[in-house]
Subunit: 125 residues, 2 copies
DNA sequence: CCGGATCCTAAGGGATACTG
DNA sequence: CAGTATCCCTTAGGATCCGG
């Protein structure tokens, strides 16, 4: 059995990459980019093909990582709103540096989604 | 069967995240951060716990993605050197923005590796 | 409306042995 | 020195059904 150092020893870049690595998290960032609270269904509607289970799962992971907050309104019907925290907004901003390089890469399809009409991730164009 | 749009439609941030997402790729970036060519064993020696198979695999993926170049010298014993491309260096630099935020996060162990004495990823301190 | 519980599959990564 | 070749296992993510 090997030492577990490789797992226990954390690097700031790897920690952040782990927090944003999830199939739909970039798109969740986009939906919350304004900083304003957004309802669950609004997020769901703007992200085609994601199942409720997986979306919820990724939202919970992001909440646990401190990227977003979740507010529950005890109403009928129920309402839940999500919004990015300061940390989430800061990381989103940092990712824009990666985005600048991404634009220069070949094999990147920058067209909009045919279904929702949006880019996967945009920011003050 | 669903539309495959979700997979075919590429986002610049996701493309880059995919390119740097590999258990050892951040550490490979660190080894090549100087921009100078580095031999295979030099990389391997500075990254504890990685097997030859996986290290080679990740190096090849990064080469295919245009992040690094691989030079083979037909000598005995054989010599192979790796170095970051302009693209790789640019992405490394962009990742430093993520790193700034990472430093502010809780649960990030910033101590050096006990075996190799280095941080997983550093850059002109 | 916003999920939880359960089951399943694909793929990244690890252990070990071997080689031009 | 710098890798291949196999075999194996864990885990993220998906499908489907159920519930406050």
């Amino acid at each position: 059995m090997e030492s577990k150092n490789a797992k226990e020893w954390k690097c700031p870049v790897e920690v952040i990459l782990a927090m944003v690595s999830g199939k739909w998290k970039i798109m969740i960032f986009r939906e919350l980019a304004s900083g304003k609270p957004v309802r669950y269904n609004q997020i769901s509607d703007n992200i085609p093909h994601v199942s409720a289970k997986v979306l919820t799962q990724q939202l919970r992971e992001m909440e646990a990582d401190g990227l977003l907050r979740r507010e529950i309104f005890q109403e009928i019907p129920p309402r839940v709103e999500y919004s990015l925290t300061e940390c989430g907004l800061g990381i989103l901003k940092a990712m824009m540096e990666l985005r600048k390089w991404g634009y220069g890469l070949k094999d990147v399809d920058m067209s909009k989604c045919e279904e929702c009409g949006a880019y996967r991730l945009y920011y003050d164009e």
